[in-house]
Amino acid sequence: MNSERRYPETISGPFEEPPIHFSDREDRDIEIRPYDGSEAEYEALAEMYVEFDPSDRAQGIPPGRESRVRTWLDGILADDCYNLIAWDGDTAAGHSTLVPDGDDDYELAIFVLQDYQEAGIGTHLIESLLGYGYSEGINCVWLTVERWNHAAVSLYEKVGFETTGAESFELEMAIRLAEDD
């Protein structure tokens, strides 16, 4: 969006790398692994977003209608993006994604289905995505978050994101995974 984005000087990490397995706080067996590009995984993710509670939407995503969910997914599941899915068996419980911003850096977003929230899945989804990004040579990652969303902001701060822009409606936060090339 703009190449004048600021990033922290301090490098964060190291972070766990996918695939990872763990038991969540509800004792569900969760596996986080990269999206494999298959139709089955695409459909599981589409199903997750169709079921997504509208009150958990942020800044217009995920979109509300199934057709628009699919258009949106086509963009963020493209070959130049990095996607992790948290699985409870065959059910997609959560998703984290890195989308290139055209300036060699990546925008991050994370979504956890309502029934799976507050079980520790979000922390693993974001940390393993940062580990995945680092292993793929990504240096800097940023995101925007609505300023009233304290739960999300504290999760991002916990893993090392710093607030880099606070002058608009949304907070902008960024993290450095490696020195610039």
Partner: protein, 120 residues
């Protein structure tokens, strides 16, 4: 209805400007396009986009150039000159598809006494 369109937020693309002016023209009896940009070079290209849009869609509108803080200028013009509505391009989307609202839009939404329409 007397409608004021503001163009010239840093991220207003030509397509967003065209869409916004067209949308405003649909409801306006009288239309004014305010080109907000202190930078002379961008001002020329913005003015060209506005002129093209008006000609292409056969829209009659007054155009004017506004200097200073775009948000407060737009609110001030709308109030002092009796406009009924302000129309702005309503937020860009990030690579992820998140809608982001820039400072000008935020200022106008929070401070205008008229109806504000955001087009996207």
């Amino acid at each position: 209805m007397n409608v004021l369109v503001g163009v010239g937020s840093p991220n207003d693309s030509p397509a967003a400007i065209e869409r916004t002016i067209q949308r405003a023209a649909r409801v306006a009896d009288e239309l004014t396009v305010a080109i907000c940009n202190p930078d002379a070079d961008t001002d020329v290209s913005l003015a060209a986009t506005v002129t093209e849009t008006l000609e292409e869609h056969d829209i009659t509108a007054a155009t004017r150039h506004v200097s200073g803080q775009p948000g407060s200028e737009l609110v001030d013009i709308a109030e002092s000159e009796g406009f009924d509505e302000i129309v702005l391009a309503g937020g860009q989307t990030s690579p992820m598809g998140k809608i982001t609202i820039d400072k000008t839009v935020e200022f106008v939404v929070l401070n205008a006494h008229t109806t504000v329409t955001l087009v996207r």
